[in-house]
Symmetry: C2
Subunit: 192 residues, 2 copies
């Protein structure tokens, strides 16, 4: 299998998560990332992915059904949902760090392309690739609120003024985004 640069993570949900299946999933995931970074999410096909992954196309068809489902699946879980959230003691600093983290993540062309692919297949279905981000925002605000430190912020405000601008620019004008921008947005929640 080519391109196995990352350690093979355990498959998320499969009645048989052991060795080979996990290897196939990991290989395909890597292949998708590479190809999507090289050519964009619209110019790749399942046979291309399969060849790059050193896997039979049939396996990919049987596991995911089509390209759209596969990309959405990979994009959704790409930023580890179980990673620790910032907990600096103040909501403002937590949000700042969190925003920087998100910008850093999507600054990688691979992840930006995955985000665009996720955007294309969002809308109708309930699940999308940013659900986890919204959950995280709500958690941090709620945690601070329980301590009486919410600073008048709500999860909705965090979405509108932090996540939305970052995601918007990552999608449509990624060259205008860097970590300083994330910090300015976080500051904007408290100033003006």
């Amino acid at each position: 299998m080519r391109g196995m640069t990352t350690t093979p993570p355990p498959a998320r949900k499969a009645s048989r998560p052991g060795g080979r299946s996990a290897l196939v999933v990991a290989s395909v995931k890597n292949a998708v990332e590479e190809l999507i970074a090289e050519r964009g999410s619209e110019k790749i096909t399942i046979p291309m992915v399969a060849e790059r992954a050193g896997v039979n196309p049939t396996s990919v068809y049987r596991r995911w059904g089509d390209l759209q489902t596969m990309i959405n699946d990979i994009a959704t879980y790409h930023l580890d949902p179980s990673r620790p959230l910032p907990a600096t003691g103040t909501l403002r600093e937590d949000l700042t760090q969190w925003a920087r983290e998100i910008v850093r993540h999507y600054s990688t062309p691979v992840n930006a392309a995955l985000l665009r692919g996720g955007a294309a297949s969002a809308g109708e279905r309930e699940s999308d690739c940013l659900r986890n981000r919204r959950t995280e925002a709500a958690m941090m605000v709620e945690r601070a609120g329980a301590a009486g430190q919410a600073d008048g912020l709500t999860a909705d405000l965090v979405i509108d003024r932090l996540i939305a601008p970052i995601i918007y620019r990552i999608i449509f004008s990624p060259w205008t985004v860097d970590e300083d921008y994330a910090v300015r947005l976080a500051d904007g929640l408290y100033a003006r």
Copy 2:
């Protein structure tokens, strides 16, 4: 030609914009809108579009080259760039009306789907389907600024706090967007 419900607008740029060419373009445009609203931007093909438009697939291939280019082209010019912008006398009211207008536009499933299609093919290339929106924001702010009425706003701020949240939600959670939301966002530029 099926689906000719709208009046055929003149083709934008063609060395020969008269009758038949314009008709083909208009038919294809209608067909894309219908299909994209029915099935989403990822599940349509050029032969499908051509059949719906009553046009030969070859013509579509020759004019646009591929599906991506076609969708991006149609999505870019769909909100008429030459329509008059709000000019109520105050920047605040202009921006409020303008935001409502954008929300109204993208509340149509067709236009939301086109936006998602545009998002998928944005990024690397310089042109994208929201360039016109950014230009409009800059124009309104600049106009107010020339009259000394910019209220401390910049085009960037309008993008981050008006366009970005609207577009973000239209793409990822369209059911949370209505004209009231647009008004609240515009208010948010002045309050807090």
